[in-house]
Symmetry: C2
Subunit: 263 residues, 2 copies
């Protein structure tokens, strides 16, 4: 099986021109087949304020009303995605920008309203991701760069969590490739002390994860990422790495960050 690396880059790197530029250089140099998934960053909030679109959050999740889905579509799929594409092309990386609507690459459904109405937020329909469509891009030498927008198949665009997109695409591609999933962000990995980058846990497996959680050593923000990582491993993804964007190469080679394994 051919190897495929799916890399998620966090919004805070997107917000920092120098960090982004340096990350993209490292990404461009990664050999073999790869997919980049980027978060949204804070620029949407800033542009939204100027446009009089108020950002509303519940439990850290943006509530996406009609004005907001237009805003994030403009900013994520337009401004951010295309700037990344132009930069990668300048680095001879044949990037092509996509959302989940393009080529129906990530079918999703509007999140059902329970306690909270998240608005135009998409939940990915895992089983409907067509790995062959993605492979069609990869086999033609394109490097997909994914903006965190999906669609419902009925014409509605949907705001979708980039971590989830990375995980779902990684899972779906496991039928065709040996997939390594890399979550790169501002921390050096999963930390014992959230404020001390030197306390990276180099390896986590299901039993050590249970123990770390029971001892309260994993801070809340990491739990969804780790749950996603184990879900990915249980669905065929070979390896999940979490760590610093600046250390992408070492993350991929296993010399830095936290490695999540199934045993």
């Amino acid at each position: 099986m051919d190897k495929l690396i799916v890399i998620k880059i966090g919004g805070n790197i997107i917000d920092d021109e120098n960090k982004l530029s340096s990350f993209l250089q490292t990404f461009a140099a990664v050999e073999g087949k790869k997919i980049l998934v980027h978060g949204g960053g804070k620029v949407a909030t800033k542009i939204g304020e100027t446009l009089g679109i108020e950002s509303k959050y519940v439990d850290g999740r943006r509530i996406t009303d009609a004005a907001t889905i237009d805003l994030v579509t403009m900013v994520y799929a337009g401004l951010i995605n295309k700037k990344v594409i132009a930069q990668l092309q300048a680095l001879s990386c044949n990037a092509i920008g996509v959302t989940g609507a393009d080529g129906n690459l990530i079918p999703a459904g509007k999140r059902p309203v329970k306690e909270i109405d998240y608005g135009f937020v998409g939940d990915v329909k895992s089983e409907k991701i067509n790995a062959s469509s993605w492979a069609g891009l990869l086999n033609n030498g394109f490097i997909p760069v994914v903006a965190p927008i999906t669609h419902d198949g009925n014409g509605q665009l949907l705001n979708t969590n980039a971590d989830t997109i990375a995980q779902e695409v990684a899972k779906a591609m496991s039928s065709l490739y040996e997939v390594h999933l890399v979550y790169s962000f501002e921390k050096s990995g999963v930390l014992l002390d959230a404020n001390d980058d030197a306390t990276v846990i180099s390896q986590i497996n299901p039993s050590s994860y249970q123990q770390l959680k029971a001892e309260g050593k994993i801070f809340a923000g990491m739990i969804p990422k780790l749950d996603n990582a184990f879900a990915a491993l249980n669905s065929g993804v070979k390896k999940v790495m979490i760590g610093k964007a600046e250390q992408l190469q070492q993350l991929i080679s296993g010399e830095a960050g936290t490695s999540i394994t199934n045993s």
Copy 2:
């Protein structure tokens, strides 16, 4: 040779939700391989005003400063392109949205400053368009939908005329396909009387074009379109049609609009 239809849709259709929706239904029903190129519409100007970005024009061409290239990238490649993609996907048309930066599909250069500095405006490098990259998308069942943005290969996005993009892509694809190029807009075709849709000239060839121009019967706005059409025919495009977006099917079949031919 396989047939390929390249269709340009004007900004005024993009601005009208009902007309756009009706056009996209017709486009989705067009059989065989096809590429859609869309203009920008007026929504960029409107959003720009709200953001405090003033629209500047010289000779009908937008002057694209740094704030404006960000604006049009957001609106053309983000908002407009992705809404079109989501609508086409709902019509079972496997559309994929691209700019000229994506997959390096349309290499361009910043327009040299002569009398006027157009800013970040791109002139397409015809000879550098890679027809195989486009064919890679088409052969995988993707229908490319192109937003009028290109790049200079050094990381800079460039605002680029959509008519020109349609023409250049059509020309480049002539090496691999029998290409028909369709300019669809608000008029029924090239008119003898710009205010009377019944005065469509059904066919124009180089000698009748010279005569019509000499007699002042072609209004100024049509001349660049016709010049582009003949340039396309001289570079391998098989057929060029100009006419009403609402009559797309009849335009393609030659039952409506103006047909531009080389003899």
